[in-house]
């Protein structure tokens, strides 16, 4: 699909008038660009299975190497923010559901709705502008340029100050929807018969909430967490672009700009694989937690 792009990679990669026809032909052969498209695709799949994703046209390095380096940067940002948003979302969603129709609930619901609609990159930009005026936090990249660190702690401190804004952006963007999901799942469950039965038994409000409701809501929350990871990844692409964070998301943006097909293909592949992996893990956990969906004993 990526080869449908207008523009010839060779002419982009070697913009050099000194190349003669023979040398161009040689390069075409080395990169396999002289073979028919289906054969190129076949070779790509075979190589991808071996962990070789080709060579980036722009960086002129193996794609897999670049991707691994960038993936680490993305995960540094993504994992803490996903954990944070799930925990926060569950807490505020529970509060909102417990105080149903109270003003706290109205406030939380309204706030989440607004957060849910905020475009990621705009929220990021907003934070950048605010920080320019008030906080003076660094807004681009992972580290300051050309700084000699006296030790590891210095380096981590620098990383953390750079990370704060992208982290807040990424957390807030998915946090709204997660709160709403938790709240609606809890409200739905509270109309079930076993909850009514618990009231009839005479359990206290607190006990019903902690023991009956939260226990049962863990399943929907789990499956929503898998979806939250997917949206976080999408959010990461935009967040990284705005903050020039050198992760996979920024890499996609740069690859689009440089028309770097192998890199684009590789980045997309790695994002798809990680999202599918997250979903699979969630499905497996679901099977462990909920005996009803185990189909083994048919």
């Amino acid at each position: 699909m990526f080869r449908l792009l207008p523009g010839d990679p060779i002419s982009l990669m070697f913009r050099d008038l000194r190349l003669n026809k023979d040398q161009v032909d040689y390069l075409m052969r080395v990169f396999g660009l002289d073979k028919p498209l289906w054969e190129q695709y076949f070779i790509y799949i075979i190589n991808a299975l071996r962990g070789n994703l080709g060579i980036s046209f722009y960086y002129k390095q193996p794609v897999s190497g670049i991707l691994i380096e960038r993936l680490v940067n993305t995960l540094i940002l993504l994992i803490p923010s996903t954990i944070c948003l799930i925990l926060l979302g569950v807490v505020t969603g529970s509060i909102s559901a417990w105080k149903k129709n109270n003003f706290i609930d109205k406030f939380i619901s309204g706030f989440s709705l607004v957060l849910y609609t905020l475009p990621t990159y705009w929220l990021g930009g907003l934070l950048i502008i605010l920080s320019i005026y008030f906080l003076r936090l660094p807004v681009t990249g992972m580290y300051n340029y050309g700084v000699q660190y006296s030790g590891l702690i210095d380096k981590i401190a620098d990383l953390l100050t750079h990370m704060l804004l992208p982290f807040v952006t990424l957390t807030l963007v998915s946090y709204g929807s997660f709160t709403m999901i938790t709240r609606s799942a809890l409200v739905d469950i509270s109309t079930e018969d076993f909850v009514k039965a618990s009231y009839a038994i005479g359990y206290s409000e607190k006990r019903i909430f902690m023991r009956v409701l939260l226990k049962n809501v863990s399943l929907p929350i789990l499956s929503m967490s898998a979806i939250a990871i997917g949206t976080s990844v999408a959010g990461a692409v935009l967040t990284e672009t705005v903050f020039a964070w050198p992760g996979v998301g920024r890499l996609i943006y740069d690859a689009v700009m440089n028309r770097d097909y192998p890199l684009l293909q590789g980045s997309f592949l790695i994002i798809s694989i990680s999202v599918v992996l997250a979903n699979t893990i969630a499905d497996l956990l679901y099977g462990i937690l909920d005996p009803r969906v185990r189909t083994g004993g048919q």
Partner: protein, 283 residues
């Protein structure tokens, strides 16, 4: 059901309709009320903060940002509505196909839907948008093709339950053709939900369009709110704190989206009171 009565009774609907209609009217009359034209550059006032002559300030070419934001509404709304309509048409079609005719077709469509839902759509949109031509039409199609899956899933589940209802079974027993049953029984039962889903997917389409343009995918020639954000970002307005360039387009986007979403949600509740009591199906 009397529409006016519903609007009067439902405050969410009222608020949403007022916001949405306001923006539609503004988009329509933009050429008449905008104080400056799109190409009116003024070298003497570049990147000026808001003032009485320029309500939202000016950009790096000395253009009036208030007028630009007004003009931008047209393509933002147009692309949002068109892609939402196309995507829900695809979703309706696929949902009926996969819900009504079970078997290999259902299996295939369900797999495609699963794939499209689990992959973060915006990433695929960026990739596709940079591969295919960057005109508005192809952007509309890309957004539509990548966002029909959730709609198809909902439609499919409705069709599955309607299909088993006695009157549909009776029609089948009387020898009605599949096409007749779909037209007479299935379609009327899914159309209200399709309308709701169409309205609810307009904000997503608007955001996707703006995000694509912001990421440098798609042409910046058709002025929309994403274009203004893109230029604000590219001209370095973020790191130099020029808030009047970056904040208004985003605020307009968010207000518009909330307005449309309020209408959609209110409509959903009005059209389908059962929905309020429905429980989520175990996945």
């Amino acid at each position: 059901m009397n529409i006016l009565y519903v609007i009067k009774r439902n405050s969410e609907m009222k608020a949403g309709l007022i916001i949405t209609c306001l923006f539609i009217v503004l988009a329509l009359i933009a050429p008449y009320i905008a104080p400056y034209g799109v190409y009116d550059t003024d070298p003497s006032s570049i990147l000026k903060p808001p003032s009485f002559t320029h309500l939202f300030g000016t950009d790096e070419m000395g253009r009036d940002l208030f007028s630009l934001n007004l003009y931008a509404l047209k393509f933002t709304l147009l692309v949002g509505i068109l892609s939402a309509v196309i995507s829900s048409t695809i979703g309706l079609f696929m949902g009926i196909l996969s819900g009504y005719f079970s078997g290999i077709l259902d299996w295939l469509i369900t797999r495609v839907v699963d794939f499209l839902i689990s992959i973060p759509a915006i990433v695929l949109m960026i990739v596709m948008g940079s591969v295919f031509s960057s005109g508005v039409l192809s952007i509309i199609l890309i957004i539509a093709i990548l966002s029909w899956a959730p709609i198809a899933r909902v439609i499919r589940s409705i069709v599955l339950s309607v299909k088993e209802l006695p009157f549909v079974q009776a029609a089948k027993a009387l020898g009605a053709s599949d096409l007749w049953i779909i037209r007479k029984h299935i379609l009327p039962s899914v159309l209200p939900m399709t309308l709701v889903l169409t309205i609810l997917s307009i904000p997503n389409a608007i955001f996707s369009y703006a995000a694509l343009v912001f990421m440098g995918v798609g042409s910046v020639e058709e002025l929309n709110l994403g274009t203004i954000l893109y230029y604000a970002y590219v001209s370095g307005s973020l790191s130099s704190g020029r808030w009047w360039y970056f904040i208004p387009p985003g605020l307009i986007l968010v207000t518009l989206a909330i307005g449309i979403m309020l209408v959609g949600r209110a409509l959903e509740r009005e059209l389908n009171p059962r929905l309020r009591e429905s429980k989520p199906e175990p996945i």
